[in-house]
Structures are given as structure tokens and as C-alpha cells.
Subunit: 367 residues, 2 copies
């Protein structure tokens, strides 16, 4: 194989030639939705100190920032994720927080810092990933900060708008509300659990299943359409994305809303690939599905009386969700199986540095 | 000396105990100005996915992100800047971009990542600096992202609002407009030029002058009040902060506006401490004042007919600015001295990795 000849441009060249193509023609774009009139009057193509939006009516603005590990992240270091994948993930991770508020994303600012040895092709790949992630979320990458550093650093900020007062908080769940989730969780956590241990299993998973496991990292989806339905029509009483894993998310909504939750174990959707990893590891697939992961599903609560109407509106948009339990007044997060046996929520909740999916395998699944 | 006993808390503890004190009671704060009704309905104290603002009338929203080098930054590595200083600088650097748009800052999101060996006291110092920087700029730190990484990483996003359509761009300067700056530039660049070479000078500068040189880094000021006057009353035709140094700023406004500039050399304010560093280095003080630096003055252009009214309004607020030249139709940035000699703008403009203040001393001051 002939090695690719690496080119390392200076930053002004990178900005103009490698990023420029992604950022032309932004200014003037309408980026609102749901009757909110929002126009990007100066995007990254305006090359000014800031991006500028004109907001023509009262609205709520939501803003959030997420840093991603990128390098030093095990799947990237193993060569399983590319620069494009990491850029894509960065954009979607940030937009997901906007979706969780029930808002429409109006833009993403990104910080991309890189060491000298990152050549132009690799740098452009990261930018292309950010760009595609924004596009797939229906929003714009409106600039930010690029420059050198002694390692790759990726961080971003997303912002969105919704009708005044309609932002979905974590704190609105009431006893009796239904607990719902837009889809199965745990895929990204299962990938992190599986790949570094792959050689220790007698027989690994098929290429197809391995691809599926990586797909959650490579092309995650922010639930923007789902969040918008939940927020615009005030269906959800509380909402949060599952980027800490389903168990942690349920516990966080529980604490913010001062309620309890009882999850019906058989109603929690389990992704088949997650089930296969659980089998290999000798752990419960429900526990792995609910453990630390970085999926971008939405977990939300719903007044029981609104279930049919909400489900119908999801269906109209080609979407669906799962009712997995209900809010209680116990102050505890627990699950019940078809035999009526009640236990604390299975799985290992994300607790910053402390969580480790391997705790599942050692039987130390409770904190 | 008894070494301080270091404490390293986990992240949830840091969030609750070390950051919590800075973030209580934010939600509900009114953060607008100039007749713009903006209320922070969910700040960092709401501990949700995002911060939420209610914007009650049409307005322009401006957003920008800046990463700062922090560690690997020479003055920090030399122990001349503390964690508090770096946090403070991060906040002000980001707010400065909002000021340059003539907008009122309504919040800052920050990303603070740290390695395990950063103890609680050091971590809290950085957060305290960010908090104080926001407070001194009249804005709020509404959260962001904290967590571990293998080194300290500091990044932030600031956002602000202004009357619809009143954001100050770089592109509005017209030939005949006056070129102005809110104060002397080059202090931060002079500090970077001086301290690493301090031991090579036969006699260094006095403690007082050294303190003054560091002061620009330790307690920079974003020109929020100045920007607001320039934007709200539409005095400025173009505006940019001088965070790349005065020469680069003038050249960037020139390119964005498609004009030229002629600077009157004797009218450019020079900070005495910068003059002393220039003398020590054997370079021209005007050149050092205009070279790569990270000051947060505002450079702006003004229709000549509005000069007196604008100056009067600045004076009412206890503020002032300097007229240092005018926009031309030559497409060149040049300066003229009292003898009528014309030359390209002195100094070394910031060009990402390529700029080095030492070029001044080698005589390679032109690109």
C-alpha cells in the first residue's frame, strides 16, 4: 500500500479551503419551525465575531454544551470509529440536549482543536462529520473555534427555540404519569462493553451484529421530531435524553420531579444486539439495556389520559414510543416482572468516573 | 511549609458541593437590557439538559465560542497565572465577542475538563474565576459541561441579545468613516513577549510594571458598555474586538468591509508598560502595541458626523475612545506619521500558529 502523502496546511488555509465549502450560503436561512420565525442573518460564512439570528416573535431559547472524549475514547483508539464518526457524534450529542427540551435546534457552534500531526484530510473528515451530523439533525453548523492544541479536542454548543414556556424540564413528572421511552437503549454501552473484550470470548459476534453495535456510535440520531411533538403539544410532563443510560435517566427524572418510578420489566424494549452482548458476558439483557450508555433516546412522562392522542400524533409522523412503567409516590426507582417480583432498577447507572459496565458481570449491579 | 492535603472528590460531589454555591438562585433572573425583555427561566440551578431563557419580544441573538489554551499557555506554565485567572479570562474572552457585536451578554456556558490530579481546591478556583468573570461582565454562568479528561480543557460559549437588526458586523465600514479604538492594545502580547525572556535582559522591569503587564491577563475587561452604546444607537458602522491584536483587527475589518485604512501613528494610544517592553526588546513601541495580542478593546468605525454625539454618550457613561485614523478606498492598511511618511501598518499581525512576536526583534515585521 502506498502511504497517502500527508498535507498539513496552516489554519487560515484550513478555514478557507477545508471548512469553507461546508459553510457557504448559510446566512439568510430560515431555521424556525412550529410558527417560530427565526432567521440566521449571519452564519459562519459571514466570518464575524459571532453568528447572528433574528428572532421575530416571543419564544423560549434553550442552550447546552457537551464535550466529547474523542481520542482517549476506547472505540476511537481501537480504530473502530473514524474522525468523521467522532465529528458526527459531537453534533448529534449536542442537538440531542435540544431535542430533550422539546425545542427545534437552530444551530451548533463547535470547537475543534488538533495537534500538528493531524493532516488536512483527517481534519476535514472531522469537520465533514460535524457538518453531516448537523444536516441530518436539520440544523446548521454556524462556526465556533478551530486551532491547534497538543491533542484533538472536540466540544460544541447547541441552541434551539420553542414556544414561550413550552420547554420540557426534568421536573414535571407526577405520580400516575406513564413512563415512556422512544426506543431501546444500551446499544452504545454494549459496544463499549463488547469490543475491548472481544478476544476474550470463545466466539465473537457476527460482522452484522458488530456493525449494528457500532452503528449507534457512528450514526446516532437525535430525537428532534419526537421532542418537538412532546413539547409543542405539551404532551410530556418531563423529558430527558438517555445519554447517561436509561437507569440513570429514570433516576434523574425521579429526583428532579420528586416522584418514584415502577418499570414493568417485560415492557422495556431490548435491542437484539444488546441481548447478544449480554448473553456473551453472562449478564441480564435488561440490565445491560438500562446501564450506562450514550444513546440519544428520549425518556419522558405522560399523563395517562393523553396516551392515545400522543401515540396517534407520533404515528402520523411515522414515529412510535414504548410505555415502560409509571410514576409513583414512593421516591424509589424499581422494576416489577410478570411474576410480580419487585426489585431496584437493574443495571449500572452512569456515575461519572465510577461506573463500569463490568460491574454487571461481577454481580455488583447495585450501588 | 506543610503541604496542603489535597482532596479529590468525584464529579457528582464536585457538581453539588464545589460548583453548587456559585449557581444557586439563577433561575428567574432578568438578564435583558435596552428594553429587551429576557428572563433566565432555568439556569444551571435547574440542573436540566439545557438552560432556558424566555425572550418576550423580537430581538437579535448573537452566539460565539472560544477555546482557551490554559495549560500549555506559557504564562500559566510559568506560574504567573492561577486557575482562577484562567477561568476569569475564559469568561471574559467569550463575553468580549458579544460586546463586539454591540449586544448584551445574557449568559455563558463553559466546558471544564480536568485530569484526576487536579484537586478540589484547584478545580474550584477555576470555577470561581469563571463565575467572577461572568459577574464582572454583568452576566451569568448558566452551566455547561464538567468532567474528567487527561488534561485541563477550557472552552466556553457566550450568547447575547440586541435590538432586531442592530448587531455590529465587521463589514459595514465605508471610506471616510473614522477608525476608533476604546483603549491601548498590546498589553497581553507584551506580557507574552517579556516574561519568557525576562532573564535575558540585563535589568528587568519593576514589580509594578510587571504586575501591570500581567493584569491584562488576570483581569481583562470585556467592553460590554462600550459595545452597547455603539450598537444600540447605531453609531458604529463596523466593530470587532482586538483579541488578535490591533493590526490584525484593522486588516480583518478592512477585508470584511472592502475598504482601506490609514492610521495616524501619533494618535494610536500606547500603554506605558508596552512601551517599556518595546524599549527592552529594542523594537518600536507602536509596532508592539499593534502586534498579536489578546486584548479585548473594541476597534470600530464611525461616520465622522456622529463623532461628537458618540463621544458625548461615552462620556456620560464615564467612557472614552480614541480616533486613530480613517477608512479609505485604497484596499490597503497603512499608517502615516507626523512627517507625512506612509508605510504598511507596523507590527506582526496574528496569523494562527505563524505569528511570533519575536519577529519584531528580528526586523521581519512585514509579512
Amino acid at each position: 500500500m502506498t502511504p497517502r502523502k500527508a498535507t498539513y496546511s496552516d489554519e487560515p488555509t484550513r478555514v478557507q479551503q477545508l471548512i469553507g465549502e461546508f459553510l457557504t450560503g448559510q446566512s439568510g436561512t430560515s431555521v424556525g419551525a412550529d410558527g417560530l420565525d427565526v432567521r440566521l442573518t449571519a452564519g459562519a460564512d459571514a466570518k464575524d465575531d459571532c453568528a447572528v439570528y433574528d428572532l421575530s416573535s416571543p419564544m423560549s431559547l434553550v442552550v447546552g454544551s457537551d464535550y466529547i472524549r474523542g481520542p482517549k475514547f476506547v472505540l476511537y483508539e481501537m480504530g473502530l470509529l473514524s474522525g468523521f464518526d467522532i465529528g458526527y457524534y459531537l453534533a448529534v450529542a449536542n442537538v440531542s440536549d435540544i431535542a430533550a427540551m422539546g425545542a427545534t435546534p437552530i444551530g451548533v457552534l463547535s470547537v475543534v482543536r488538533y495537534p500538528h500531526e493531524v493532516d488536512d484530510a483527517e481534519f476535514q473528515e472531522v469537520i465533514a462529520g460535524i457538518h453531516q451530523g448537523c444536516t441530518d439533525c436539520g440544523t446548521l453548523n454556524v462556526g465556533g473555534d478551530i486551532g491547534n492544541a497538543e491533542r484533538i479536542i472536540l466540544s460544541a454548543t447547541a441552541f434551539g427555540v420553542c414556544k414561550p414556556g413550552s420547554a420540557l424540564m426534568r421536573s414535571g413528572a407526577r405520580p400516575g404519569d406513564l413512563l415512556c421511552v422512544t426506543g431501546p437503549c444500551g446499544l452504545l454501552g454494549a459496544a463499549v462493553a463488547y469490543f475491548p473484550r472481544r478476544d476474550t470470548f470463545e466466539k465473537g459476534l457476527s460482522d452484522e451484529v458488530e456493525r449494528r453495535l457500532l452503528d449507534g456510535w457512528k450514526r446516532p440520531r437525535a430525537r428532534v421530531a419526537e421532542g418537538r411533538i412532546l413539547g409543542t403539544k405539551a404532551y410530556a410532563t418531563a423529558c430527558q435524553d438517555t445519554s447517561d443510560g436509561l437507569k440513570a435517566t429514570i433516576e434523574q427524572i425521579m429526583h428532579a420531579s420528586d416522584v418514584g418510578f415502577r418499570v414493568v420489566e417485560e415492557d422495556v424494549p431490548v435491542e437484539p444486539a444488546v441481548g447478544m452482548v449480554a448473553d456473551l458476558m453472562g449478564v441480564e439483557s435488561l440490565a445491560l439495556s438500562m446501564s450506562a450508555s450514550s444513546d440519544f433516546q428520549l425518556a419522558f412522562t405522560l399523563e395517562a389520559g393523553k396516551l392515545e392522542k400522543c401515540r396517534a400524533e407520533f404515528a402520523l409522523a411515522g414515529l412510535d414510543f414504548h410505555v415502560i412503567g409509571e410514576a409513583t409516590d414512593t421516591g424509589r426507582a424499581e422494576s416489577v416482572n410478570h411474576l410480580g417480583a419487585v426489585r431496584p432498577l437493574p443495571g449500572v447507572a452512569w456515575k461519572h468516573q465510577k461506573s463500569d459496565i463490568s460491574l454487571l458481570a461481577t454481580g455488583r449491579v447495585e450501588e
